[in-house]
């Protein structure tokens, strides 16, 4: 039973990872093409789209925030690691759990702050772009921070399973 739930979850998570990958590649491609198109339009047709530059600026945030969510998956955030090598190796998994729990808590608060922000944006207005109101463009913050929080929690789960000796079965499933 628990095993099945776990399998469904990991299947869903892999789907999420794939969707994220597609989104990031798509956003980056659009950014490149749109910026180059603007230059061509300006040089050869002395024109261009007024919406293109603000759009690209939003896309930069989207691609970066989801990039950050992807980094969380692989535990490769910029960190200041200066004394953990002093700890005995047996303690390291526990340290990782503490850090992941702490990170999940902080990012959880950020999700809440982002929801308040987006709600305020929806209430008090702001510039719309291509028919999408400002709160729509700012949805990236609650979405990405939710994903990041989720991944820190998954990190905790992974470490706990590893400590309780289920490491082998986990790596097999992850490699599927």
């Amino acid at each position: 039973m628990i095993h099945n739930v776990y399998r469904i979850c990991s299947w869903l998570l892999r789907g999420l990872d794939r969707a994220e990958e597609v989104l990031i590649c798509l956003l980056l491609s659009v950014m490149i093409v749109l910026s180059c198109l603007q230059i061509v339009l300006r040089l050869f047709f002395s024109g261009g789209f007024l919406w293109a530059d603000p759009l690209v600026r939003h896309l930069v945030i989207w691609v970066g925030m989801f990039g950050a969510a992807a980094v969380t998956n692989r535990g490769k955030h910029i960190a200041l690691d200066v004394i953990s090598f002093l700890l005995p190796p047996k303690l390291l998994p526990w340290l990782r759990i503490v850090i992941d729990l702490f990170s999940a808590t902080v990012c959880g608060v950020l999700v809440w702050a982002a929801i308040v922000f987006v709600r305020n944006e929806a209430m008090f207005g702001g510039r719309e772009l291509l028919g999408i109101p400002s709160w729509g463009w700012n949805l990236v913050f609650p979405l990405a921070f939710t994903l990041i929080t989720l991944r820190f929690l998954l990190g905790v789960g992974r470490e706990l399973r590893r400590i309780s000796g289920k490491q082998e079965s986990l790596t097999v499933e992850e490699s599927v």
Partner: protein, 422 residues
């Protein structure tokens, strides 16, 4: 409250993601003065008003593609053909190629891993002492941060709201000075050429090498010519570079297959994402400092002890060298620049010049014991104890310090080229 902050800092040195630590401190601080926490996200959303930010992900993407392709080998090959016959030629080649390569890819370790692996065996084979070779490659791993389109230079522009086209110009002469001093030292330390190495310059080989790298050689001209020739702004220059590199590496050289492209896109956007969240979190922490008028009070405090601009710059350099040896360059920039900028401005320091001072310091920080990143990367790559690398880089470090002094106390070196911009 301060107890929780203390725990947060403890978790920071235990290896928590830096963006989490900064965000936590910002959240706690705003909570402490009763300001709604959504201010943190308001500050992060301000990043979408920053036109220059676009050039970061695009140059990162272009740089990642370059480092995953055959470009390093081709450029190295061509440089050796052109300069290898000189006494000390290989050392000069190493410095030049590393500088150009770091400018395009950032000092993310790529230079040491991709080029260092090719350069070290070649230098040893040509009779260079091992200690000298290791020191040179470790130092060269972050050389070129002052040359356009280096990412830290762009990030300084984004954080300080200084013009990036100005920064690009300002970095060129200081960067060349640094190169020249290192080149002079390297030529002096190089072993004499053996007979079989002499008279190697053959026109046909050079021509073949040039033809081989024909698509890569225009890159610096696309970046600089585009910006200063009025064809596009810095953000667009990044887009053109990205598209150009993509076409060249995927369709012309075919070093990168289309199927590998999504991987490279992911890799580069994860790198960018890691930088962006640190930048976003620091936007919030900086805003707290501004709200509480910390920069103003900091200036008032410092002014009591330091009256001259030159003393201030001396203290700043020492401070930045320490910061640079502890923090990675991106975090150091986003955390320290907002704090120092108003103070430096009050002392009458030109902000473009300040940027060059910052970057020179942080570049030196890469090779400063005990925790300079390059030392660890080289130690890992060449399987040598870190302590051996400490010793190997010392003479190079001394040269970098000399350039730092010149760059700091002779502003025209940074600002002279700007005067041609009108």
């Amino acid at each position: 409250m301060s107890f929780i902050k203390l725990i947060t800092l403890f978790l920071a040195v235990l290896g928590s993601p830096l963006f989490v630590v900064i965000a936590a401190l910002a959240l706690l601080s705003f909570y402490g003065v009763g300001i709604d926490l959504s201010v943190v996200i308001i500050e992060m959303s301000r990043l979408s008003d920053t036109p220059m930010l676009l050039s970061l992900p695009l140059f990162i993407f272009a740089g990642t593609m370059l480092s995953e392709s055959g470009t390093p080998q081709r450029i190295l090959h061509l440089s050796r053909l052109l300069l290898g016959w000189l006494p000390g030629g290989l050392a000069v080649v190493a410095l030049l190629v590393c500088a150009v390569f770091t400018a395009f890819t950032g000092a993310s370790g790529v230079t040491i891993f991709a080029l260092g692996g090719l350069l070290l065996p070649a230098m040893l084979k040509d009779g260079y002492p091992e200690k000298f070779s290791l020191g040179l490659i470790t130092t060269a791993g972050s050389l070129g941060l002052l040359f356009p389109p280096s990412l830290p230079l762009i990030l300084y522009g984004v954080v300080s709201e200084t013009r990036i086209d100005h920064l690009f110009l300002a970095g060129i002469l200081p960067g060349i000075l640094m190169l020249l001093l290192l080149v002079a030292y390297s030529m002096k330390m190089s072993p004499p050429l053996r007979r079989e190495q002499q008279k190697k310059l053959k026109a046909s080989e050079v021509w073949a090498g040039l033809k081989e790298s024909a698509w890569e050689l225009p890159l610096p001209f696309i970046v600089l010519g585009g910006i200063y020739g009025g064809i596009f702004v810095a953000g667009e220059a990044a887009a053109v570079t990205a598209l150009y590199v993509l076409i060249v590496e995927v369709f012309i050289y075919r070093d990168i297959s289309l199927r590998k492209l999504p991987d490279i896109m992911m890799k580069s956007m994860m790198l960018f994402g890691g930088i962006l969240v640190v930048l976003a979190a620091s936007m919030a922490s900086t805003n707290f400092l501004v709200d509480q008028e910390v920069p103003t009070r900091l200036f008032e405090l410092i002014r009591q002890y330091i009256s001259s601009k030159y003393t201030f710059l001396l203290v700043l350099n020492i401070f930045l060298l320490i910061v640079g040896s502890m923090l990675d360059i991106f975090s150091a920039l986003v955390l320290v620049v907002p704090l120092i900028l108003p103070v430096a401005e009050a002392y009458g320091v030109n902000l473009t010049h300040l940027g060059i001072i910052f970057l020179t310091n942080l570049q030196i920080g890469y090779c400063t014991p005990p925790v300079g990143l390059n030392l660890f990367l080289a130690s890992y790559r060449f399987e040598k104890p870190v302590v051996e690398l400490y010793r190997a880089t010392l003479p190079f470090l001394a040269i970098l310090m000399v350039t730092l002094v010149i760059i700091t106390y002779f502003p025209p070196l940074s600002l002279w080229l700007l005067s041609f911009l009108g």
